[in-house]
Amino acid sequence: MSRPYYQSQDLKKFKNITDWSPELGTKFFEYYNSVFQEGALSSREKSLIALAVAHSVQCPYCIDAYTQDGLQRGIERNEMMEAVHVAAAIRGGASLVHGVQMMEVYDKRSM
């Protein structure tokens, strides 16, 4: 039986990537943990940024993890949805802004 590309149980095994490369794995997770500490931005704000980026990169593990993280932090669903719309706006905008290139080429090549 073929294994599905994505399995929710795999999220719990994320830390296992360190097994095959202890130095890089350890460095990554140390860095990851430092990133989410309170700083100029609060951990709460960082959690919402992570949720938005998770949707932008369409990572099901990250969406699962940061929805649950938000619930634990008391982040409400309207706040989460606004974060997702930020991701959608930037993704949509990223497509649309290329329309300028299309217009430039079109105009240059047209008589």
Binding site: K12, R44, Q68, L71, Q72, G74, E76
Partner: protein, 351 residues
Amino acid sequence: MPIKSLQSRSHLLSSTQAQLQWLENGIFKPGGLPSFAAKVNDYQNTPLRPRTLEILQLNLGYMCNQVCTHCHVDAGPDRKEMMSEATLEKALDLIRKTSIKTLDLTGGAPEMHPYFLEFVTQAAQLGIQDLIVRSNLTILLANKKYADLPEFFKTHNVHIVSSLPFYKKEKTDRQRGSGVFLKSIEALKRLNAVGYGKPNTNLKLDLVYNPSGAFLPGNQKSLELEFKKALKTDFDIDFNQLFTITNMPISRYLDFLIASENYDEYMESLVEAFNPAALDKVMCTNTLSVRWDGYLYDCDFNQMLDLKVNHLLQHIDDFSAVDLLNREICVSQHCYGCTAGSGSSCQGSVV
């Protein structure tokens, strides 16, 4: 949301045996997740034992004016169990004869007990350091006979600990019933008005947060800041501390976990979050819980599963502080709730 207790609906999970079956089987069968007893043994090589007796928690009865979806007591207006006058007298005797620092009155809604005022008045004269009443807040508005309670609490320097699962209406009402949030806000204003939760009054008003769903509570300090900011800005309400409490897989919350197909994942998350530092500070090592009928338990959760103290002296009539310290604490898989993450107790997180 349910409008009646599991008991009055003759729900399967109103049986403590049925609840324990869930906790002992399924993903905790041999070869599955480790039992709590095995986990404790891994870390300290001995079963859990009490260290001292500092907190006496009396459950005055299961009657409550609310029917909350997560209630581990299965409390509600239809529950008639009440502590007798004789048992209340025994409890006062017990306090006189021991060096208990904290008396913690819970329920149901403890204020609904017919001898509540009399009992608190007497208990307050016994020199206890901390006399706690766990108030659901809405009881203060439920009937005019409760309207004077804020003044009464103030007179006897009662420490109020109240559930408020969120600082907004939607989540609170979904868990505790329609209209509960605004009534709770009004009750908090009345407590603030007599000095509770205000700076320099020594009248302590603490709130209890528990997650509105199948997830663990976040950081206690961060949530406290969020609560303080929101309640002050939106309603000009002050309080002292926020206690975060993990929902225990017992009674109505267990029913929710099973019905919503979250049980396995929730239990896995509790086991994964096991924290040995929290194990060192679990409340059962310094607490004794008394049921309405006088039976003794290691904690309120064991009371709801009817896991009586593992000792020959199981009733308040036979109470002996020294003898009862010599016992093993009864555990099952619900105990993972107290050792997950920063830990959980009736006084909030423990590490």
